[in-house]
């Protein structure tokens, strides 16, 4: 089922959505070790097979819901919109959640930048801030930003923002918008 996109909201880019889905699938597969161990224990200690069965089912359910489904939903559902006085963030796993945060509620902003830089002498491509396989689709002029907002109501992560999106978000915070964050690295 294709989810209807909200008007005026910024969603994850196609490449980054794919990355989030891939990570969720890999993590889900890795965590299947836990129910596998419990199934083995069912045969080792058959006297408590019901308990191990219930725990294995619970572990699979938790893995499926909190890792796989969360990752898949996050990739397609997470979005935000910058309004004149508030920031609106949509997210949610089994439910839809809309958070409306006043800029005055933001106490601190942390910005991380990821970009690709070329080592001139050796011609080797390097990626600052992330693994090589992660952001290989970035061109030399691209950078992506992770903005974390620390608010009285909690933390909000805006991930994989383009420079324009990051600038739009940061422009609403007095004294917090240091243009140097958008300058290219050395």
């Amino acid at each position: 089922m294709i989810m209807k996109r909200q008007e005026g909201y910024v969603y994850l880019g196609k490449e980054f959505a794919g990355r989030v889905k891939k990570r969720a699938a890999v993590l889900f597969a890795c965590l299947l070790v836990v129910p596998a161990v419990l199934v083995v224990l069912m045969f080792i200690a058959p006297g408590f097979w019901e308990v191990f069965l219930i725990l294995a089912l619970a572990a699979i359910a938790a893995d499926g819901i909190f890792v796989l489904a969360h990752g898949l939903r996050y990739a397609s559902r997470f979005c935000f919109a910058v309004m004149p006085a508030t920031l609106r963030i949509r997210r949610g796993l089994c439910c839809r959640k809309l958070c409306i945060v006043r800029y005055a509620d933001v106490n601190r902003v942390r910005v991380k930048r990821y970009f690709r830089k070329k080592n001139v002498d050796s011609g080797v491509q390097e990626y600052s801030g992330a693994g090589k396989s992660a952001l290989r689709f970035l061109s030399e002029s691209d950078a992506v930003y992770d903005v974390r907002l620390y608010c009285g109501s909690g933390k909000y992560d805006l991930k994989y923002l383009s420079q324009a999106s990051a600038a739009a978000v940061l422009s609403y915070f007095e004294d917090g918008n240091d243009e140097r964050i958008f300058a290219r690295g050395e």
């Binding site: 006085a85 949610g92 439910c95 409306i100 608010c151």
Partner: protein
């Protein structure tokens, strides 16, 4: 001796002489202690000290203390605080600090036993950056407080209404006892049959009962003990409602006075248990922007109050009462809440199938918890103030101005989406928690979000 003088139109206060007294006392005790042990080690015996030796030690301690006193007085850099038109200026030697009146959230006086002996008072000044204390001579305190600018100071005393909780404040003991007993009775009723069935023997399962009763006893003692502590700590408690603040006084041995400014109050939460409702009593909690040391938001008004006293407190700050009836949607809310308990229901059914059918008694819990929540649910959206009623064991009423709401979160599960309602969480400030105020209609949620879009021209 008072050492306040006029200087260029500002009033300067010398921070108290108590420091030299306390330091001198400390030096005396330290000298006596060191001299005592030195004498014992030199003489080679312990606890067989003669009166002559004790006198020598005391004379030595007194002599050192006197020398210290004079040296300290000579070398001491007297710190001062000057009250200007715009704020306070603190000076100690070359260090100067400025605090604007606009940044001061509260000023309170604390007079401990030692303070009364040395005729000094501890004044705590709370700002947005933190709280710090100064010590003034007792005779300077009223002059200092008079210099802190407040509107309408002259008529303040005449308009002040005083609230003195009386014997109704002790109903909290009964209220807590009844609530806890009902909770534990329910816990035993739904869990004990299953435990007995699993263990297969009543004599074995009675230990489970004893364990629950032990937990009940501890919880009861802890809860009632807490109320006893509050009653002792807040002895001689009174609230004076001024034009722009609450002046809260309490304490028998250590008299404390807090000023809770109306400007710093972000929301009120009025709550009562069924027993409180029986006696017509309310408990008021103020969610404030100031985080005072030694007193939390719940303890500004720590006692149960009669309806008129609670109303006087709340409406002194928020006179704009939202009009109209509560908006309610009980059936829709019940359905949405039951969906949120689905995981618990499934777990109970699975355990009932695999372990023992008595586990199905756990299904009583979602039903018992949803009914009072639906009964208490409701809200009114006024012109400037929103009023939310919610709660399960307690009826809570949250009053909050739109301009003080910092964030809203609306959550919809499948049933809530179908019925057009959202579960609402409200946050009012950095140090306050969020309030889960129950379900609101989508149209009203949109109205609330529109109100948040209005810019707030306010110094933060």
């Amino acid at each position: 001796m008072t050492n306040a003088s006029l200087q260029e139109g500002n009033r300067v206060f010398y921070l108290s002489r108590h420091r030299v007294i306390y330091f001198t006392l400390g030096v005396f005790l330290l000298t006596a202690f060191v001299a005592f042990w030195a004498a014992n080690m030199v003489l080679g015996r312990l606890w067989e000290i003669t009166w002559a030796e004790i006198s020598a030690i005391l004379c030595l301690a007194v002599g050192v203390s006197v020398i210290f006193y004079f040296v300290f007085k000579l070398k001491e850099v007297k710190p001062t605080v000057a009250v200007t038109e715009s704020g306070l200026i603190f000076k100690k030697g070359k260090k100067v600090g400025n605090v604007r009146f606009a940044d001061i959230a509260s000023v309170r006086e604390n007079g401990g036993l030692l303070g009364r002996i040395s005729k000094t008072r501890r004044i705590e000044i709370e700002t947005h950056l933190g709280t710090f204390a100064i010590y003034l001579a007792a005779s300077d305190v009223s002059a200092f407080f008079e210099k802190i600018p407040v509107e309408g100071r002259e008529s303040r005393r005449e308009e002040a209404r005083v609230i003195l909780p009386k014997r109704e404040k002790y109903i909290c003991f009964l209220s807590y006892f009844v609530q806890l007993t009902i909770l534990f009775a329910l816990a035993i009723a739904v869990s004990f049959p299953a435990v007995a069935a699993l263990l297969g023997d009543f004599s074995e399962s009675r230990y489970y009962l004893f364990a629950l009763l032990a937990i009940y006893g501890i919880a009861l003692l802890a809860g009632e003990g807490r109320y006893l502590y509050i009653a002792a700590r807040f002895a001689k408690y009174s609230v004076r409602i001024e034009k722009d603040r609450f002046t809260i006084c309490y304490g028998k041995i250590t008299a404390t006075e807090h000023n809770l400014f109306f400007d710093s109050i972000l929301a009120f939460r009025v709550h009562r248990t069924p027993i409180d409702r029986l006696f017509g009593l309310y408990r008021v909690s103020a969610e404030s922007a100031q985080k005072a040391k030694g007193i939390s938001d719940n303890n500004y008004f720590p006692f149960l109050l009669r309806k008129e006293a609670a109303e006087a407190i709340v409406y002194a700050v928020m006179p704009e009462r939202p009009a109209g009836e509560f908006i309610r949607a009980e059936k829709k809310i019940a359905a949405a809440l039951l969906e949120s308990t689905l995981w618990f229901v499934l777990a109970s059914i699975i355990m009932g199938i695999f372990l023992t059918p008595w586990m199905l008694l756990l299904l009583v819990l979602p039903i018992v918890s949803v009914l009072p929540v639906c009964r208490n649910a409701g809200y009114i959206l006024g012109e400037d103030i929103a009023l939310f009623r919610y709660g399960m064991l307690e009826e809570n009423i949250l009053l909050v101005r739109y301009r003080d709401i910092k964030s809203l979160t609306g959550t919809k599960n499948i049933t809530a989406s179908r019925f057009g309602i959202s579960a609402l969480d409200v946050t009012v400030g950095q140090y306050t928690r969020f309030f889960s105020v129950g379900y609101v209609k989508d149209a009203d949620f949109s109205e609330l979000t529109e109100k948040l879009e209005k810019k707030v021209d306010k110094d933060c």
